[in-house]
C-alpha cells in the first residue's frame, strides 16, 4: 500500500503543482524519488510532528494540498491538537498519511502499534477517514482525497499486501465496495484485514455459507446505506478490523445499526480488545493473538452463525 501511495502521489504531483509532501524525518526508501523530483514541494521538518502539522496547515492556507507523512501514531497522536485546531477547524487541505496501521510494526512494540487511530480521528469534525484494504484501494484513495477538499486521514498498511481488486474497480470515498455477494452473513472489513476477510468468505463458502464481503475503506463518512441494505438482506453482520474494538469500524457500524429502523440482526465486532499488546511479534503473530487470522475469525463466527440458526 505504501508503494501504491507514493507512486500515485508522484504521478499526481507531476500534474498538480499544489501538491506538497511533508515528512517527519521518516520514509527511508519511500520518499526519495519524490524528494528528488519535486524538491520545492518536499519538506522534511525533522522529528517534530506538532510543527509538521502546523506548518502543513499554514501551507494549506496558502492553497497547497499538503500530505503529511509518518508512521504509526506519530502523525496523529503526537500532534492531535494541531490536527484538531489548525487543520480541521480551518478545513485546511491537509492529508495525514500514516504508514503501519494496526500491527504492521508489531515487533517494534506498543509505541508503534496503530490501534486507536481510527477511533480518535473519526471523532474530529471535517475529517475524512480512509483505510484502504489493498494496493488498488490505496491508489484510488490517494487520488480521491486530493479531489476532496479538506482534511483527510489516510491509514495505510505497510508493504506487500495482496491485491484483492481488479485495477478498474469502482472506488468512491464513502461508498463501500462489495467484494463478494452473499445472503447468509455480511462481513465488513476495513484496512489491511480485507485479504483475510476474503479468505474467510472463501472458507465459509466451502461450508455452504454464502458471505457478503464489504470493504469499508472509508470510515468517515460511513456508507450507512450499504450497512442498512446488509441488515435487510443478511441475518448477521460482523465487522473485522486490525484496530481497537472501541470506536473503530465496529463501533461505527453499531451506531448505524442501533439508530436504524431495520430488522434486528445478529452483530459482532472483531478486533483488538481494549488492551495494549505488551507482547510483541510480527504482524501475523499479533493478529493470531487476537484471533484476527482466517482460523481465528472462523472460530469467532461459529457462535454468530449458531445464533442465526437458532433465531431463524
Amino acid at each position: 500500500m505504501r508503494t501504491a501511495f507514493i507512486q500515485t502521489l508522484y504521478e499526481m504531483a507531476e500534474r498538480d503543482d499544489r501538491i506538497w509532501l511533508v515528512v517527519g524525518d521518516l520514509g527511508y526508501s519511500v520518499v526519495e524519488q519524490y524528494a528528488e523530483r519535486f524538491p520545492a514541494r518536499y519538506l522534511n521538518v525533522g522529528v517534530a510532528e506538532q510543527n509538521m502539522t502546523g506548518v502543513a496547515a499554514g501551507l494549506a492556507l496558502c492553497n497547497k494540498v499538503v500530505f503529511t507523512y509518518s508512521i504509526a501514531n506519530f502523525p496523529t497522536f503526537r500532534c492531535l491538537e494541531q490536527i484538531r485546531n489548525d487543520v480541521c477547524y480551518h478545513n485546511a487541505n491537509v492529508k495525514i498519511v500514516s504508514v503501519g496501521g494496526g500491527f504492521a510494526y508489531g515487533a517494534l512494540g506498543m509505541s508503534h502499534h496503530g490501534t486507536e487511530d481510527i477511533a480518535v480521528l473519526r471523532a474530529l469534525p471535517n475529517m475524512v477517514v480512509v483505510a484502504p484494504g489493498d494496493p488498488v484501494e490505496a491508489e484510488n484513495a490517494t487520488r480521491a482525497i486530493v479531489e476532496q477538499t479538506g482534511p483527510c486521514y489516510l491509514r495505510l498498511g505497510k508493504a506487500g499486501e495482496a491485491r484483492i481488486h481488479a485495477r478498474d474497480v469502482k472506488f468512491q470515498l464513502g461508498r463501500a465496495i462489495t467484494v463478494c455477494e452473499g445472503s447468509d452473513i455480511t462481513l465488513i472489513s476495513t484496512g489491511g484485514m480485507l485479504a483475510t476477510t476474503v479468505r474467510v468468505a472463501e472458507r465459509l463458502s466451502k461450508e455452504g455459507v454464502a458471505a457478503r464481503v464489504l470493504s469499508m475503506h472509508t470510515l468517515k463518512p460511513l456508507d450507512e446505506e450499504a450497512i442498512r441494505i446488509a441488515a435487510r438482506e443478511t441475518p448477521a453482520i460482523v465487522t473485522i478490523e486490525e484496530h481497537g474494538i472501541n470506536g473503530g469500524l465496529g463501533s461505527a457500524v453499531a451506531e448505524t445499526l442501533a439508530e436504524g429502523n431495520g430488522p434486528r440482526v445478529v452483530f459482532k465486532r472483531l478486533g483488538i480488545p481494549s488492551v495494549y499488546a505488551s507482547q510483541i511479534g510480527g504482524q501475523d503473530y499479533l493478529r493470531s493473538i487476537y484471533s484476527l487470522t482466517v482460523d481465528g475469525i472462523l472460530t469467532s463466527l461459529e457462535s454468530v452463525l449458531e445464533t442465526v440458526q437458532l433465531s431463524g
Binding site: 525533522g46 506538532q50 510543527n51 502539522t53 499554514g58 501551507l59 491538537e81 485546531n85 489548525d86 480551518h90
Partner: protein, 278 residues
C-alpha cells in the same frame, strides 16, 4: 526598506482607539484577557496602521501580508485593530464580541470575522502555522510577509521551539515573530512560573535575528519594523518589552486583569484616563 505609514501621533491615536474598543468590549461581554490585549495595543496600532499590506475590501487578496495572533486569548485587541483598519465597524464588533449566537469568539477565530486568517486559542500553535505560510510565500516567489504575535507564556510550549528551530533552517526572512513580553502569565510572573531569560539569547541561539524594543514606544516599534528583515536569509524576532494592562493606571502590571473584566465604574474611569467622555 518598507517605510511605516502614519506619524507617531497618528499611531498613538489609533492605539488609543484600539484600547477604548477593548475596554468597551470586555466590559460588555464580561470577558477576560483585557490586560493581554492592552499590552500589545501599540504594536497592533503600528502593524495595522502602517505596516501590513492588507485590503479591507479584499480580505482574501492572495498577495496580502499575513498576521497570525498566536496569543489568541488577546483577540479583543486584534478585532479592535481590524475594526480600526476598516474590516468592519466597531459598533458591529461591540454588538457581536462573545455574544450568544455570534461568531466573534473569545479566542481569535477566522469564521465569520473578515481579516482573520488563522484561529488560535491553544498556545504554541501560531508560529508553526505562520512558518508554513512564510515557506509557501518563499517558494512561490512572493514578496509578502508573515507576522506572528506570541505571548511570553506560550514560549513555555515545546511546539513554539519546534517552529523556532524550523524557520531559520529554511531561511524564512519573510517571517517576523513578535513576542509581547509583558512578564505576566496565567498564574503569576514569568520569572516565577517558568523563567524565559536569557530570552533574547535563546532566540539568537536558535539562529533568529533578534531586536529588543520598548513595545510602547511608537518610534522604536516603527523603526524596528522598517528594518525587517534584520538580516537577509534569517527570520526576525522582536522581543517587545511591554506592560500588561498598559494605558489604564489601575490595570497596569496586575495579574488580576488577565481575568477580570471592567465593571461600569471601572470602564468609566479607564475611558476617562484615555480622554474619552461618555
Amino acid at each position: 526598506m518598507q517605510k511605516v505609514k502614519g506619524s507617531p501621533l497618528e499611531l498613538q491615536e489609533r492605539a488609543r482607539r484600539i484600547r477604548t474598543h477593548v475596554l468597551r468590549m470586555t466590559h460588555r461581554a464580561r470577558t477576560s484577557h483585557v490586560g493581554s490585549s492592552l499590552s500589545m495595543a501599540d504594536i497592533l496600532a503600528v502593524l495595522y496602521g502602517g505596516v501590513l499590506r492588507i485590503d479591507p475590501n479584499q480580505p482574501d487578496w492572495p498577495d496580502r501580508d499575513r498576521f497570525v495572533l498566536s496569543k489568541g486569548h488577546a483577540c479583543a485587541g486584534a478585532y479592535a485593530a481590524l475594526a480600526e483598519a476598516g474590516f468592519f465597524t466597531s459598533d458591529w464588533l461591540l454588538d457581536h464580541f462573545c455574544q450568544d449566537g455570534s461568531y466573534v469568539a473569545g479566542h481569535i477565530t477566522h469564521t465569520g470575522v473578515p481579516g482573520v486568517d488563522v484561529s488560535t486559542g491553544s498556545l504554541g500553535h501560531g508560529l508553526s502555522i505562520a512558518a508554513g505560510m512564510a515557506l509557501a510565500g518563499k517558494r512561490d516567489g512572493k514578496n509578502s510577509r508573515v507576522y506572528v504575535l506570541l505571548s511570553d507564556g506560550e514560549c513555555d510550549e515545546g511546539s513554539t521551539w519546534e517552529a523556532a528551530l524550523f524557520a531559520p533552517h529554511h531561511k524564512l526572512d519573510n517571517l517576523v515573530a513578535i513576542v509581547d513580553y509583558n512578564k505576566i502569565q496565567s498564574l503569576g510572573r514569568v520569572e516565577e512560573v517558568l523563567e524565559l531569560e536569557p530570552f533574547s539569547a535563546k532566540w539568537k541561539a536558535f539562529r533568529w535575528s533578534v531586536r529588543e524594543i520598548d513595545g510602547h514606544d511608537f518610534a522604536q516599534i516603527s523603526e524596528t519594523l522598517e528594518r525587517i528583515p534584520f538580516e537577509a536569509g534569517t527570520p526576525s524576532c522582536i522581543i517587545a518589552h511591554t506592560v500588561k494592562g498598559k494605558g489604564v493606571s489601575f490595570m497596569e502590571d496586575q495579574l488580576a486583569w488577565h481575568y477580570r473584566s471592567p465593571n461600569a465604574e471601572e470602564l468609566e474611569k479607564a475611558l476617562s484616563e484615555m480622554g474619552v467622555k461618555e
